[in-house]
């Protein structure tokens, strides 16, 4: 296979809250307070090949945005390394580094937190292309207007400030801004969540066109499984900082292996299904401050058994290109070799 465009190798990202003065003093008196560490991303391996659309899904707070930021080179990893076209990010220098920075763009989840409120849309979108000589002087306005049009923003909006836009309009400003520097990789963090389904369809078609025309590569973070199923070549499921399953959409939605993935797919609301009850996964959502031992999912897993509390399951191949991390895999394998009639529960 060709070389990945970008690859996370055993990447971890931890956030620690340092003790404040009061707590340090309390410790002098024997309070025994410890720094709190969140393992937002825990030894993740993920390779994205040129022209591929990889979907990243998982529970809120499981580390998707953090992994996206680390892979886009915006946030350093605390362990492991990210490789861009085979080279470790930290080894990149000078022009190579600038190049990577431009080639990997991230579209953020909360547009308000990343758009400078004092700048007009024309500058928000046009500044980076100007600095990098992609469009100059007179052409600039035309260039920005053409981008705005592609994301469905009226060109008459270009002189407005971010607060004058609706939520979905702001999200499209973020998309146009990322596209303006002609990236190779787009990390899309919930990029179509705030759009009505018609504009969402338009943007998704645009993403698919750019992939066809320019071989653009995507890491597509979304909780919208309908969208993920539609546009992704591969779907990666995370749970509490770890990858628990990865497969093509047909495999993942048709034949989910991990109990968490199975629960996700069961809860998917559809227009056709006018279900008035919701059956959330049982059990408390675990805290990344105190992740459960063994398999992180075990306190909520309907299929957990003794081993799950002790041992961390590793990713194993279930079928070609379909991997999952669950101890039930081993049971299922044994059962088929022993040819027992009992199906795995």
């Amino acid at each position: 296979m060709s070389m990945p465009l970008i690859e996370a190798v055993d990447v971890s990202r931890r956030f620690s809250r340092k003790l404040d003065y009061a707590e340090k003093i309390a410790n002098l008196f024997g309070a025994g307070l410890e720094e709190k560490t969140v393992h937002a991303v825990d030894e993740v391996n993920l390779a994205v090949y040129p022209g591929e659309v990889v979907g990243l899904v998982g529970e809120s707070g499981c580390g998707k945005s953090t992994l996206g930021r680390v892979m886009a080179g915006i946030m350093p990893a605390s362990g492991g390394e990210v490789r861009w076209q085979g080279k470790p990010l930290i080894s990149l220098q000078g022009a190579e580094k600038r190049n990577m920075r431009l080639s990997a763009q991230m579209i953020f989840q909360d547009p308000m937190s990343t758009l400078n409120p004092r700048k007009r849309v024309i500058d928000l979108i046009g500044e980076a292309p100007k600095v990098h000589g992609i469009a100059k002087g007179r052409q600039m306005r035309d260039y920005v207007a053409s981008l705005a049009e592609r994301v469905g923003l009226d060109a008459s909006y270009l002189d407005r400030y971010p607060h004058q836009f609706s939520g979905g309009q702001r999200q499209r400003i973020g998309i146009a801004r990322a596209l303006a520097v002609k990236p190779k990789l787009l990390v899309c963090d919930e990029s179509v969540a705030a759009l009505d389904v018609s504009i969402q369809a338009q943007i998704l078609n645009l993403f698919m066109d750019l992939k066809r025309e320019f071989g653009l590569t995507y890491l597509f973070i979304s909780h919208d499984l309908g969208v993920v199923k539609h546009i992704c070549d591969r779907v990666v499921v995370m749970y509490l900082g770890r990858v628990v399953e990865s497969a093509t959409p047909d495999e993942l939605f048709g034949n989910p292996k991990h109990p968490y993935t199975q629960a996700l797919i069961r809860e998917l609301p559809t227009v056709a299904d006018r279900r008035r009850t919701f059956t959330p996964i049982k059990g408390e959502i675990p805290s990344p401050l105190h992740p459960p031992t063994g398999c992180h999912f075990h306190p909520r897993c309907p299929k957990a058994f003794d081993r799950c509390r002790i041992e961390r399951p590793v990713l194993k191949e279930n079928a070609a290109g379909h991997v999952s991390a669950c101890h039930r895999n081993d049971l299922a394998a044994n059962e088929t070799t022993n040819a027992t009639a009992e199906p795995a529960i």
Binding site: E59, G152, E190, A201, K229
Partner: protein, 323 residues
């Protein structure tokens, strides 16, 4: 039974340098006790501004220029600011599209929640903290006690949104206006929150206006649905009817644009064309330039038709099951 909320002919305009932007244009609707109304529609069609208008949160150059907003019978537009402040937060709460509109980045979540409790109820700090912790637990924030001391940036996007939902629930209001509260949440947590919200709505008699782009969520949650386009409500009715037999071409266009409507990987079918700039909307039906059913008469204003619990504004509505 008097409705909790009755909006009559509401118009909210922005006086911009380029002209008058009619963000909300002659919108009328009611929300009954314990009723859950789903509000969907085009991005920029005025959904959020409708919510802001109800709460008196429209800032200049925007202004409510016409209409009445009756809350339990009282016109909120005529209410003195002090009375309005009491209603806002205590009797009507809003969950904003962007949680950072609710959250102050420099204060811990606990401090913000405790202040919110004490703003309307005279309770001890300990009790306010207890209530805050319970509310965080309700929306599925793990280790709520420890998380009270965290700052907003230490939460994930979806967790911030859940904190904002928890804050809205603190006073058990009569009406919650939720502006896309679950778009950033995965389906398992989304269904947990929808489950809790539905339970609370039933138990405490809360009514809800639920703004969302996710037709699946609206289908599962709401009793009634309103569809907005270009500042107007173009269709409204029971969820079942509107989603299976839409009358308005914009509604049917939305339903055909969802990914499930085409085979995997095929181009999706957005509604052709663009929404008109809100500064220069065409006369007559604003959907005209994009509508396959349009005829000459559509250049005049379609009136609101009301039949069998369904309202729509269209000269050539679909009849029966739409394709």
């Amino acid at each position: 039974m008097t409705p909790v909320l009755e909006v009559k002919n509401l118009s909210t305009h922005f006086m911009t340098r380029r002209g008058i932007l009619k963000a909300v244009d002659d919108v009328s609707f009611t929300v009954g006790e314990r009723e859950i109304v789903g509000l969907v529609g085009e991005s920029g069609s005025g959904k959020s501004i409708t919510g802001f208008s109800i709460l008196g949160l429209v800032d200049p150059p925007g202004r409510v220029v016409a209409g009445q907003i009756l809350f339990n019978g009282d016109d909120l537009l005529k209410m003195p600011p002090a009375a309005m402040r009491t209603i806002r937060g205590k009797r009507i709460a809003m969950i904003f599209q962007d949680p950072m509109m609710t959250l102050n980045p420099v204060l811990s979540v606990g401090t913000q929640m405790i202040e919110t409790v004490q703003a309307h109820d005279s309770v001890s700090r300990a009790e306010a903290r207890q209530r805050s912790r319970d509310a965080l637990g309700l929306v599925g924030i793990p280790s709520p006690e420890e998380r009270l001391d965290s700052y907003p940036h230490q939460f994930s996007g979806g967790m911030r949104q859940r904190v904002a939902i928890a804050i809205a629930l603190l006073h058990r209001p009569d009406l919650i206006i939720a502006d896309e509260p679950t778009t950033a949440l995965d389906v398992t947590i989304q269904s947990q929150i929808l489950f809790e919200i539905k339970r609370l709505a039933g138990e405490f008699g809360m009514a809800l206006i639920w703004i969302s782009h996710d037709l699946g969520v609206v289908a599962a949650l709401a009793d009634r649905i309103m569809v907005m386009y270009a500042g107007r409500v173009v269709e409204a009715g029971q969820v079942d009817g509107v989603l299976t037999e839409p009358r308005h071409p914009y509604t049917s266009g939305l339903l055909s644009a969802v990914p499930a409507a085409v085979p995997r990987g095929e181009p999706l079918r957005p509604i052709p064309g663009f929404a008109p700039s809100p500064l220069s909307r065409p006369s007559g039906c604003a959907f005209r330039d994009r509508c396959a059913r349009a005829t000459e008469i559509c250049a005049t204003e379609p009136m609101l038709e009301i039949a069998a619990g369904r309202e729509f504004r269209c000269f050539h509505p679909h009849v029966g099951r739409a394709a």
